[in-house]
Amino acid sequence: MMMSLKDRLLERDRRMAELGRYEEKLELKERDPIRFELLYSKMVESVTSAHEVARRVSASPMSRELGEIIFGLYTPEGDAVALSRGLLIHVKTMSRMIKWMIENGYEDDPGFAEGDHYFNNDPYIGGAHCPDQMIVTPIWWEGELVGWAGGLTHTPETGGSEPGGFIPFARSRFDEGLFLPCVKVAENDKIKRDLEVLVERGIRSPIYWLTDNRAKITGSQIIREDVKGLIGQFGVDYFAKACREYIEDTRLAAEQRIRKVLPPGTYREVSWRGSMMPGDETLLHGPVAMTVTREGRLNFDYEGMSPAGRHPFQGTLPTIEGLVMNVVIQNLFYDLKHNEGVLLNIGLNVPKGSAGNPSSIFYPTALWGITYGAGLASGQAISRAYYAKGYREEVHATSALSSAYTAGGLDQYGRPFGAHNFEFAAAGLFATAVMDGLDTAGVEFNPEGEMGDAEIWEQMLPPVYLSREIHVDGGGYGKYRGGNGVMSLYLVSGTKDIDIGAFGAAPIYSAPGLMGGYPAGALYMWVGSRTNMHRLIAEGRPIPSGEGEDPAHPDFVEMVEARWELIPGANRSAQPAREGDLFTAMTGDGGGFGDPIERDPELILRDLENQVTTHWTARHVYCVAIDPETMEVDVAATEQLRRKQREERRSVGMPAQQYKARERETILRGDLAKPTARMFHAVLGSSEAFRRAFLEFWGLPESWEMTDPDRDDEEVE
């Protein structure tokens, strides 16, 4: 009798625990490595072709233009074997979906028939948030389930309490939109009409969701039929064993790689996000301790992460798993076969109840902020280890924390719409230990994301671009500066019914630097309502084309009369706008590397010529004397400025022990601002390990307890 999938999954876990390997011997590889690699290349060819065809089936710019799509081939137990390029983190989240269905008895009811396609966007099962939507289909061969094909897209609208899928003030999961947890959306390869009606009437711009579904089902069918062809050619036993060997082959190579390039030790980083819920603004703590063991294992420990709560800046366990897979593939295993094997030497500790592993599915995950932060910090930890081993060409600061706008209402064609602009995938990249970060280059969650054509966004969303420029001095300062993101200025046009919102973060420094480099600045958004734009245009007077050189006095604020509002952190609930209103959106910038006063003046000259930095920054931050007229560097004056800067540091810098004594008093007095105090209070109460480290560092007695910063509020009668 054939083993059930549930038993096969248990057997897979038992085998892994017992052997420490996915497959005991690489017999096929050893017997005929050419044949072994040939089959793998055919698999990659198939998932790649699924990816390319699916992009052309979808009507969503996310899938068509921006690369927010990925396909994979999985073992019967749901482990990734081969994957296409694209939205890397979701290879693992799709794997979680398959395993969840197996564990929850789907094999018996509703069953996995040939031609069935299951949909999921529940991030507690697999995915990161409501917009991440996956569809998988079983692959059958002569009565046996031999694998799964699946695809994922990121859709721009989900039917949430606000438009655009990213709900910046979601208080519960039920604000985020339509969740379909592991629902069969097609039988015999035919999409169920009633489910399409559910989407048509359930969300604002159903065309994206519905055509994305067609794209994923098309892609999965391509993989399924290709796999059948390959089984016909190679034999079913060869295919099944080869799938397991590909995973073990990667696991082995990953283990060797870790031993070779990362020195044993523990590497720590901390990332931050914030919940901006009115009256409960709280900083969120995302620490990571990465341990490289002598045996070639990597353990990522997120102990001390802030507890989950009623805000959208948290993620789920599948999300953090996916992020870690994404980070290790990009930083360490870029040239291996990308599959489940990359994760098999990796241990994860994400405490239950934390913002990376909420204990209740009630909590929203729309912005998955702190899990993303902790994921990026894990890459930073790898960079530190690379540095210690001498591989400086792989060392980098932190990738950007990005933001974008959302909108909904009636569009310029009079149709209901809702979407977010996803140009935020073109953020500034981190600086590295050997070069500046690339401008408008990408984001870490999708190594090939891009900004899309302005015209496509203008077709999809009513606001028109007045400008789309490189964010001047956006990247963190450093010997090598972080990459600059994009700053766009929009004019509301063509509709009398539109809400504009934005998703970003708290007003924190957005992407930390490394080894003396500064972080990128905080995110922000400007909104100008009741403007005189129509009059300026009618009279042929100048209109703004961006922020200009001084972000404290942006050109658009100087040039346009309006009620200007600044939103630090760029997190804004959707609010009505009218024609003629202006607003900005910015993608994030990357962190810098190294002491800024070590920056080569030639690099500053180049940035000045490219208009991505200013004379103000050259002088105040980099301490370089450049004549604005002749554009020549005064070497002697530069040396003098830099010497002065070092003297300044000696005068303001306080010996660490003296600084600690001063700050200890601050803590004892309880003199911390509410967002910070709430964070400490929550983390000290939820993590014994953090509490111990905190008491030890500040020399506080065991009996010390932090006062609840909101205690006084409760005492009001």
């Binding site: 900083l283 010997k479 306080m654």
Partner: protein
């Protein structure tokens, strides 16, 4: 013999690589002997004789002294104590917020100090900026790299 010529790795350490050379390094399999080669080239550059055991981060090294102690040392010669202890405990610290933050970040790019400040760590010897932490007030110093030096040395033998 190392896989790469000393000139190339020296350029990597001293900011002289062309983008083609850099890409070449990134695309190739990692060279087994890089660790030893980098230690040797860094040792050449530094003006003190004690043996470097490891490059900890920009400007900082773990060094073995004559008495057998292993300490963190800046390339300027300033010492930060035992390598098992966070070197930041022996640095100069400057909290950058308010007007000091405005001095380098303009307008809305400065974070709200109720949420986030910068903690700059300088070498007391040469006043190089060695690290900038992004933290809220009251956060313990981050101990970034805690090495299993025994294991590193084991692998060298």
């Amino acid at each position: 013999m190392p896989e790469y010529p000393d000139e190339l790795i020296r350029d990597l350490l001293r900011d002289g690589l062309s983008s083609e050379e850099l890409e070449g390094l990134q695309r190739q399999d990692k060279d087994e002997d890089r660790f030893e080669q980098v230690l040797r080239l860094e040792q050449e550059r530094l003006e003190w004789p004690e043996r470097i055991l490891l490059c900890l981060q920009a400007h900082l090294y773990v060094v073995e002294k004559d008495d057998g102690s292993k300490v963190v040392r800046c390339d300027c010669g300033q010492e930060f104590g035992d390598y098992q202890r966070n070197w930041k405990e022996s640095a100069l610290v400057f909290e950058r917020a308010g007007a000091d933050a405005d001095a380098i970040y303009r307008g809305p790019r400065v974070a709200d100090p109720d949420w986030s400040i910068l903690r700059e760590f300088y070498c007391p010897g040469c006043a190089t900026q060695l690290d900038v932490e992004v933290v809220p007030r009251g956060y313990p110093f981050i101990f970034n790299v805690e090495l299993d030096l025994g294991a590193v040395e084991l692998r060298r033998q």
